[in-house]
Symmetry: C2
Subunit: 288 residues, 2 copies
């Protein structure tokens, strides 16, 4: 199951990436939303071997922690300290694998999509928020907590952009500058309603490319996959590639960047199914 | 051997981290400098089993590449496309392990220093330049090329700092703002000569903390080790910790950050020997 801050997607599938049943519903209260997920799992035609959860966060991924499997310090109303994994495990009696929604989507892309065979890559989603995950040394990125890539700081172009930024924690971190709500707050209308030639998009591409340049210098990913609602504006891709190339300015001497940018910064091959397929990949097992 | 852009350190040691012979010399031309290293290896009292090289970069770490083991696109005069690993291997007939200088130092700290037992951590050196390495998922960070962390972009505080930045590729990337030459260019005197109460250091701590906040959100390291000439100003540590905490603003809910910052952002336990001990650790083998 893909547990986003806006909607949940429950689905069943197998280790080849085929999907069988599938159901979507909005993320309202924990009781109602988790209840609808459990209802889905209770009414399946197929027997269920294991469940994978890719969840919005922050989440607790430390198996030694008393809050392992919880959604922790989220600003989303009512969801703070929610034992999501425990609720699913107790109700279904099945083994449950748990990770961030972006790491799940990254694993889906690694198994069946645009990141097959890559030991180090990035998966970013730019929508209601900005999230990042991926693999380093052929395993999903974890650590002290887990990546919270949307909250990196980038140079704010005050000359072109007087919007102060919309992140309640950091103001003008990357998420505060480029997520859907920031676009709407800055321009007074939703991104979907802004035409491709609107100044919003050059600014958007500039800030996203600043983030990518920083991550390229930090992680040296072999590919960067950009998903999420904002990236449905396909015209952003060539702008972001061009801007990232200009920002790196020839410093990283790799033909993947210098000559093949259109294969280096790409859309998810699994499209909107990356998240739920990734959750199924989690259930199958990271090594499987 | 630790091959820095300023000096080389050659040493012999064993798998317990003991050092025997040791010799330092300035990095002049490749012919002269590599020649002095080979002279060192030719005149040893102990038999030599393997050699580890931690080198300034960028370097080519791809075993499948024709330039594997080369220093590649460095701006350092005369060193572009230098087959450092090949020269050492041919002259000594020993197996040679090769990585960046910062990854070598990171491995030294993981084996014998401040990063023992940590699956994910960062090692940064702030001196003539800014370099970063470390481990993700218990292995040194590689990828398309290797991390070039000094070149991330951070918000430039134009109100407090009119210096345009000193990086020949990116101007005011992190290295362009905080490396030793940037301090000297901004204030007209070398950092060592500036007293702790000078405004230079609050600005320095601010920029470094911006970098750390970005890396904490990206990699979620379990610890950050800060070495290099600039960090010999020990008064920087408490300033950087305080500023990083303020920048993160409670978003990352981990007691290591919220309560134990003085154990989270630390100096190298191996001091100035991290690099050369790390090269010996490379020779012993990453898994050894």
């Amino acid at each position: 199951m893909e547990c986003g801050g806006t909607k949940f997607v429950c689905a069943t599938g197998d280790e080849t990436g085929r999907l069988f049943e599938r159901k979507e519903f909005p993320a309202t209260t924990p009781v109602e939303t988790i209840g609808r997920a459990l209802e889905f799992f209770g009414g399946l035609a197929h027997p269920l071997e294991a469940i994978g959860i890719g969840s919005f966060g922050p989440v607790d991924l430390d198996p030694a922690s008393p809050k392992f499997g919880y959604i922790t310090s989220t600003p989303k109303d009512g969801w703070r300290d929610t034992d999501l994994m425990g609720a699913v495990r107790r109700a279904t009696g099945r083994p449950v694998a748990f990770d961030t929604d972006v790491n799940a989507a990254a694993l889906g892309e690694a198994r069946w999509g645009a990141a097959q065979g890559l030991d180090t890559f990035l998966y970013l989603t730019i929508g209601t928020g900005v999230g990042g995950g991926g693999m380093a040394n052929s395993r999903l990125m974890h650590g002290l907590v887990h990546p919270e890539m949307g909250h990196i700081r980038v140079p704010h172009d005050w000359g072109a952009d007087g919007f102060a930024g919309g992140c309640p924690f950091h103001g003008d971190c990357l998420e505060g500058l480029v997520a859907g709500p920031a676009i709407e707050a800055r321009w007074g209308q939703r991104g979907e309603t802004l035409p491709p030639e609107h100044a919003a998009w050059d600014l958007e591409a500039h800030y996203i490319a600043l983030g990518l340049a920083t991550w390229i210098c930090t992680l040296s990913p072999r590919r960067i996959i950009l998903g999420g609602g904002v990236m449905r504006q396909a015209h952003l891709f060539p702008r972001i590639r061009k801007e990232a190339l200009a920002l790196l300015n020839g410093y990283i001497q790799a033909p993947e960047i210098l000559e093949r940018m259109e294969e280096y910064i790409v859309a998810p091959a699994l499209g909107g199914d990356a998240g739920v397929l990734g959750a199924i990949a989690l259930a199958v097992g990271e090594g499987g």
